[in-house]
Symmetry: C2
Subunit: 283 residues, 2 copies
Amino acid sequence: MLFVVILTYSDSVSESIKEKRARLLENAKINVSEAYSKMDHPLIQAFATFTENERMINQMNEKLEEWYSMYFPELKTGSPKSYATFVSEFGNDKRSANAKDLERIFDEHAKHIAKVAEESMGGDPEEKEYALLKSIAEEELRLIELNDKILVYIKEGTERLMPNITGIIDYKVAAELLSKAGSVEKLALMPASTIQLLGAEKALFKHLKFGSKPPKYGALFKLQEIANANREDRGRIARVYATKLAIAARADAFSKNYIADRLNEDLKKALSRDRKHGNQNKK
Amino acid sequence: MLFVVILTYSDSVSESIKEKRARLLENAKINVSEAYSKMDHPLIQAFATFTENERMINQMNEKLEEWYSMYFPELKTGSPKSYATFVSEFGNDKRSANAKDLERIFDEHAKHIAKVAEESMGGDPEEKEYALLKSIAEEELRLIELNDKILVYIKEGTERLMPNITGIIDYKVAAELLSKAGSVEKLALMPASTIQLLGAEKALFKHLKFGSKPPKYGALFKLQEIANANREDRGRIARVYATKLAIAARADAFSKNYIADRLNEDLKKALSRDRKHGNQNKK
């Protein structure tokens, strides 16, 4: 009798575990699809792909330049896009490129490059080889085009998802903050000091562990307003931005009100007030 | 009077230096264009680009998989090409893919993947997001196509430049040996033992510096005949190949005779003789 009871008992337990497991799995599925149905995730993926592609475009151009420099070692353009465009259009016969044709690619440097092409010590690649070089250059140009498309998507997405944050700062920096935080909600729950240092994790760790100088900004350094400021002002400006960003993030995540205009005004005021203080401190 | 003489003297010296410089520059130009007019250099560049592209295709696919796995976490294909093809054709509505459609992409796994798509816990991406995913997948497929073209170029080029070497070993390994050596002439001047270890420079350095085990093969390891052999036979087989390759390289670089058929026979004999010796040694 006891035996039977135990059996029944164990049976009902395993039954309930099964049920529980099914319920939990179902819950997990719903949670996952909910998390994924938000804009945050595609934006984070898009930003990661954009960053990776940037690296890839540079790598591709490096290889192209290494190869084509056999035929035109004097060509220096400074931009992967103009290099690849030159190879794809004039790579088989560089001396045929006159300054007028080249203006489309090189603007004011066109004349100089036409002259350099004229006097180049390199020959021209043979037909089959050039077919490859052209394909590689075109592939690179398409990758550049693709990345421009991804950037448009990121711009639209961040402006829709974070109207207040993108109302204050550049959308690329906004996308990077979002990527570091994981979601707008998580960003909104961070104190300003954390937002200020998002993207400076390594430097922060070094500071805590080895006592090196503490970082003053992370991703925010990419803001023109900070990058172009005097070195001694940057930390202060980053702090002001971080404070306003924390407020903007909360509006974006929770209240959904548009307060960016007001925040921008506050930002201006805070920056000019801060500047005065800074100057006083120096006296 | 003396003054004038000195002036004339110094003038004639600077003149002759200028001339010398011009002549040397001219020589250098000729040397460089001669070196570059050979097949070696484009082949080496093509091989470097091919290797880099392979890495890039994997990186791109990693990012694509990371992103699209939000919508179809169960999809595992094992090949970047089939993954990208699936995303570009069915990524907006994975449940619409029936087993017959999928056969083209996945062969015998088509049925399984159709079933997995049916039961997937993921949703489908919204239109704009899918447009990007599709563009990325198509870009990846084009990069794969480009690399196939580069491979055809490498095959034709190595067979033309090194008929004897490619008569003995796979053309991709031949291209790698060429890349490591710098030119067919340089390869032809190497002793067999150096050819055997081309591509194992790091391991060789470690051996010489730290006394770790000496390497037995470098790029040659990619030969099926060596990779598939028993571990204890590999070194011996690599040595036999290297010996024949050294002879083949000399024929390719200097005599230009086609001796690959004879070399292949010798190779077979040497391998079977060697095997006997190897077995005797073990007794």
